[in-house]
């Protein structure tokens, strides 16, 4: 009896392992810690090792250039010289500032504004000592916020912040921008199947090695870490989510999240828990996800006006609004059965 069981077991296991190895070649997986988060890459193909190493190096370079959490780099230089005139910057920094401006223009700065940094710094959400500043302080800092103030001179590769105390933070766009650069590097190396996940911002190249689309899980905004609310299937797309759950603190029973409303200077309270944008450009997806600031109706309008993006909006009352273009690509995978799916438009 024992022998029979053992034989069956070994047979079963070998069939099992053959089944596994029958698939495609193993991917190169790598992990980096940069941009204040974790970055995963999964790259298939002959040059996968080389391509992922190049992407890692690029991410590290740009992180050093754009960080405001440690000294050095272009953005610190720009911020430290606010009110003092133009400073010379790396061409890559100039390009990302221009991209940021374009995305801010989509909402007229109402949803996304890279000059919101003085507020972010004072509130300190996500740091060890978050605080609720007084209305006077918020008002004063709010006067420094205006993305149109970031003056860019492409010819001399320089930029300036005209008023003392103004600050730029690329946190809302850097991950998307770098995601697009990563896809460019993969393509240059002849890769046709890969994805990179920059702290939750997913950028997928091509499809899975078995030809099926990539399956991207959408986080349940009130669930545990890595608890699904749905799955979206994509090919050659970026999937970026902005949520009020990523960093927040609770004071006097009120929840303050890390996303700011550039119009009020306060953390958002728009009736949305998360917004996921699916678009070809990761930079655009990252920027558009900030329409979480504006609430369901205005947010949807901006996504539709942009035209080349699909979206998943999750409201505080656990309704999931999905744009028509995602029909057949999004499925609810909600183990809690608390969410309702609503086709939008």
């Amino acid at each position: 009896m024992k022998k029979i069981v053992l034989t069956l077991l070994i047979l079963g296991l070998s069939v099992f392992s053959i089944g596994c190895n029958n698939g495609q070649s193993k991917p190169v997986e790598s992990t980096d810690f940069a941009l204040g988060t974790v970055i995963f890459q999964e790259v298939y193909g002959d040059n996968a090792q080389k391509a992922s190493a190049q992407v890692s190096a690029k991410i590290k370079d740009l992180d050093a250039l754009w960080t405001i959490n440690s000294p050095g780099g272009d953005i610190n230089k720009l911020n430290n010289n606010s009110g003092l005139g133009y400073v010379d910057l790396n061409p890559e920094t100039i390009r990302v500032l221009q991209e940021a401006r374009k995305i801010s223009d989509l909402s007229g700065g109402a949803a996304f504004d890279i000059t919101v940094a003085p507020l972010v710094k004072t509130w300190g959400i996500g740091t060890d000592n978050p605080q609720v500043p007084s209305t006077e302080v918020v008002k004063e800092l709010l006067s420094l916020v205006n993305y149109r103030d970031v003056l860019i001179d492409e010819k001399t590769s320089s930029a300036s912040l005209p008023r003392k105390g103004q600050m730029v933070d690329l946190g809302g766009i850097a991950k998307g921008y770098i995601g697009d650069l990563a896809i460019g590097i993969y393509k240059k190396n002849g890769i046709t199947s890969a994805f990179t996940n920059l702290g939750g911002n997913v950028v997928a190249l091509g499809s899975r090695p078995d030809g099926n689309p990539w399956r991207i899980g959408i986080q349940n905004p009130r669930g545990e870490n890595s608890e699904l609310v749905g799955v979206v299937e994509v090919t050659d797309k970026a999937v970026v989510t902005s949520g009020d759950y990523q960093r927040y603190f609770i004071k006097d029973g009120k929840r303050y999240c890390h996303i700011f409303d550039p119009r009020t200077g306060y953390p958002i309270d728009s009736g949305l828990m998360s917004v996921t944008i699916i678009a070809s450009s990761a930079t655009a997806a990252d920027g558009l996800a900030k329409v979480i600031v504006l609430g369901l109706d205005r947010g949807m309008d901006i996504v539709k006006n942009y035209g080349q993006a699909e979206a998943i909006f999750i409201t505080n009352d656990k309704k999931i609004y999905v744009t028509p273009g995602l029909k057949g690509n999004f499925r609810l995978e909600d183990a809690t059965h608390e969410y309702t799916y609503i086709q939008n438009g």
């Binding site: 296991l13 790598s30 974790v38 991207i216 899980g217 959408i218 545990e224 890595s226």
Partner: protein
């Protein structure tokens, strides 16, 4: 220890408890379905520290991280988590137990990641 200082009850007790323990051990071992393998991978700064077969674990197993922060990871049958960490915001500890393929706990300050890998991953990656 002199065997003569034992009374009849002692011997019966020891033998029967030992038999119960062995039977229980065999039973709980048997209950692990073959094939449903759950593996946890612990990495630090992208380098593999330890890989643990959670399905085959009988007793709990601890992994100690000493640099740059002191952290304790505990693995039990079918699950794994950060138990303690000296990092400031404790996100890794608050993540709780990881039980399914794809579950992941991350400590950014120490660059330690625990991931559960398995065969039936429903998704490729997570947008959050």
């Amino acid at each position: 220890m002199n065997i003569r200082t034992f009374k009849t009850g002692d011997i019966i007790l020891i033998v029967s408890i030992a038999v119960i323990a062995v039977l229980f051990f065999a039973w709980s071992n048997y209950r692990v379905a073959p094939g449903a393998q759950l593996k946890a991978v612990i990495t630090q700064d992208g380098k593999l520290i330890k890989s643990i077969n959670l399905s085959a674990l009988q007793a709990s197993e601890s992994v100690y991280i000493n640099e740059p922060l002191k952290q304790v990871i505990v693995a039990e049958k079918g699950r794994i988590r950060f138990i303690t960490s000296t990092c400031p915001n404790q996100t890794c500890v608050k993540t709780g137990w990881l039980t399914k393929p794809g579950d992941r706990a991350v400590c950014i300050p120490s660059k330690v990641i625990i991931t559960i890998v398995g065969d039936n991953e429903q998704i490729d990656t997570f947008s959050y």
